[in-house]
Each structure stands twice: as structure tokens, then as C-alpha cells.
Subunit: 219 residues, 2 copies
């Protein structure tokens, strides 16, 4: 597996590279966003490991640009402990998972395996759901019976969470965190309202209600 690690803390970068190479992965390392862009242009990576705190620019922009250009490369973001909003933004910008520093190297391996497994099954980035709905997770686009459906940013934020965990029931609380800042607990039925709108756009079958727990989309 070919991995691009974007990380400016060299000690950490070395540790990660050693660990991953020990288990047979091919790891390229870049310490800045500029370098990373160049390397991404030249090589097709299987996974992107992206630190969000880089000296020469926002790692988030790198990820957004990547997604905007249509890349589906799975991305795991690395954030410091206190940068909570980064994590949310990262997931919204198209990241697939996150790790909070300092993290256990074995956990990194586990997350890598999970993320790559999720993508290896389907070479095309479209996930097919019930009701003739197809989703391009990286490209932020949704088709229903072949026709493009436009989702607003909040609608997407919610839907994306569910599609990325097919078959798993997500609580309203979990989903609310995709909408707001981590920890913001607002007493409201906003999630229900968005589910309602999504169902109107995508059909009733896609999002299933699990009473007393939350919502789920099938794999």
C-alpha cells in the first residue's frame, strides 16, 4: 500500500514511517503542503495521512482541493488534542477518519486497514444505496435514478456521516456533532428536520429510522 504522510514534526514522522515500513507499506513523506501537492500530482497514493497543523498553509485546504479535483483517495487526518474544530472540519472536508496526537502506532495501523478496506471493494468511488441512489463520497455528489441531486452543506454533512458507516445506526447526538461544533449540545430537532429534507430529495427508502436510537443507511 502506498501512503503519503504529510507531517512537519520530524520525530513523529520518522516513528510513523518506521512503524509502517516495518509492516511492509510504502511511505512517502512530505513536511509541507507545497511539497505534498507536488507529490500528489506525481503519484497515486492509496491513503493520505494528513497533519492539519502545518507551517506553510492549511492542511485542510489541501484536502478540500484534492476532493474538489475529484480525488477519492482515503484520508486520515492527524490533529492535536486541543484542535477540536479541526477534526470536525476535517471530516466535513472529506476526511475518512481522524487520529488525535499522540496516538498509538498500532491504532494507526488499525485505522489504515479499516479505511483501505472500505475503499478496496469498490474501485469506482460510487456507493450504491437503496432507492436508486448513488453517492460519490469524495466528490460530494449524489445521483438519484441517474439524475444529479444537489445537497446543501448541512444536508451533506449529515448524509456523509451515515453513508460512511453503512449498516450502523447513528444516534441523533452523533449526527448532531456533524452539524455543530464538537460538544455543542443544543436541544432541538434539527437532525429530524434534515432527515426529513434528505428523504424528500432522496426518497423514503434510503434513510431508515431506528426508534429510540437514531438513523441508519444500509450498505
Amino acid at each position: 500500500m502506498r501512503i503519503l504522510l504529510v507531517e512537519d514534526e520530524l520525530m513523529l514522522a520518522d516513528a510513523v514511517r518506521d512503524h509502517l515500513q516495518a509492516s511492509g507499506e510504502a511511505v512517502d513523506h512530505s513536511a509541507s503542503v507545497v511539497d505534498a501537492e507536488i507529490m500528489l500530482r506525481g503519484t497515486n497514493y492509496d491513503v493520505l495521512l494528513l497533519d492539519l497543523n502545518l507551517p506553510d498553509g492549511k492542511g485542510l485546504d489541501l484536502l478540500r482541493d484534492l476532493r474538489r479535483s475529484g480525488s477519492a483517495t482515503p484520508c486520515i487526518i492527524l490533529t492535536a488534542q486541543d484542535q477540536i474544530s479541526d477534526r470536525i472540519e476535517g471530516l466535513n472536508a472529506g476526511a475518512d477518519d481522524y487520529l488525535v496526537k499522540p496516538f498509538d502506532l498500532n491504532e494507526l495501523s488499525a485505522r489504515l486497514a479499516a479505511v483501505s478496506r472500505r475503499y478496496s471493494g469498490n474501485p469506482n468511488p460510487f456507493v450504491e444505496l437503496d432507492g436508486g441512489v448513488e453517492v460519490d463520497l469524495a466528490g460530494r455528489s449524489v445521483l438519484r435514478d441517474g439524475a444529479q441531486i444537489d445537497l446543501t452543506s448541512r444536508e451533506w454533512a449529515l448524509f456523509d456521516q451515515m453513508v460512511k458507516r453503512p449498516g450502523q445506526t447513528l444516534s441523533k447526538r452523533q449526527l448532531e456533532e456533524a452539524l455543530y461544533e464538537f460538544g455543542a449540545e443544543i436541544e432541538s430537532n434539527t437532525v429530524e428536520v434534515y432527515v426529513s429534507r434528505l428523504r424528500r430529495k432522496l426518497g423514503k427508502e434510503v434513510i431508515k429510522t431506528v426508534r429510540g436510537v437514531g438513523y441508519r443507511v444500509e450498505g
Copy 2:
């Protein structure tokens, strides 16, 4: 599934224990870190439910020690609403998920299933029954002829009891205890009604009536 609940609020602890026992889990309870350490030494638990606000010490340290000693036991932490930093630290210390108090008991069950599935190396063992019915006990899911069947929480509580003791005939009394709180027994035919509903969903063959005694599911 064997669960260790570390929680000092007794009301909450009782509610959690009742709910989980009703769906057939084995729940041990400890109200302090010291006790928890002792219990962890003596038993192999499948999941650890850990409140972070304990009187006699940091629940976080318990978790860290556990991880440091090499244990991979899945852990869900319970935190109060306003203690966001606890959640971050918890996830950092090796927790797998968290719940914010007050939480819905059904949501707890769902998270437990998700966490345990994540750890048991993906697919859970399916128990095969008569009539083309398959049951995933840990994942709380039932298939009939390959199609997913949704059970309500009460239906599951009953069915789970029977599936866990295949070949054994359970009295209505026993089954009633899976439905309600321990003790308060009202004379009614609720169990019969639920058996009827289950049969409609799963077919007639799965649950056998043992006249004058109770019900039974074949292994």
C-alpha cells in the same frame, strides 16, 4: 457478553444493569476505581463501561493502565454534558466511544453492539435456526431468508433470551422477567402476545410451544 460497569451513581447504574440484563448481557458493577481494578484482574470482560467522574480517583488512569498493560478490551466512557475535555482525554487514553449523560438506554445498546462488532474481527457468529432464520446475538440483528428483520426492543429482549438457551424450555415467568423489572408481576398474557408477534415476523417454526410449561427455540 460480559460487561463491567464502573459507575458511582447508583440510580443510573441500576437502570443500565436492568436494561442490559433484560437483553441477556452479564453485567458486573463496581462503584469505584479500586473495586474495578480488582474485578478486571479476576475476569475477562468483553466491554468496559467507564464513568470518568469517580470519587476515589481518575477513571482515566484506570483506562490508561489497562491499555499500558496491553489490554485491548473495548471501552465506552460516560461523561457529563459539560465535560468536553474529559471526552477528548478519554478518546486519547484509549477509549473507543463515549456517551454523554443522560443517554438513552437503547442508544447504549447500539453503541455496545457497534463497539463489540468492531473488535470481534468483523463478522459476528450467526446462530442458525429453523425456518431460514439467522441471528447475530452481539449485533442484535435477525435475518430471515437473508432479509433483515427489524425487532422492537421488547421483541428482541424476549427472543434473545430464547436464542441464548437453545433447546431449553423457558417458562412464561422467566420470559416475563426479561420484559419487565424484576419482581412486579402482573397477571397478563403479554408474553403470549409477543410470541405471537415474533412468529408473525419470523415464521411459525422458530418458537415452539411447550404446553403447560413455556416456549423453546431449537439449537
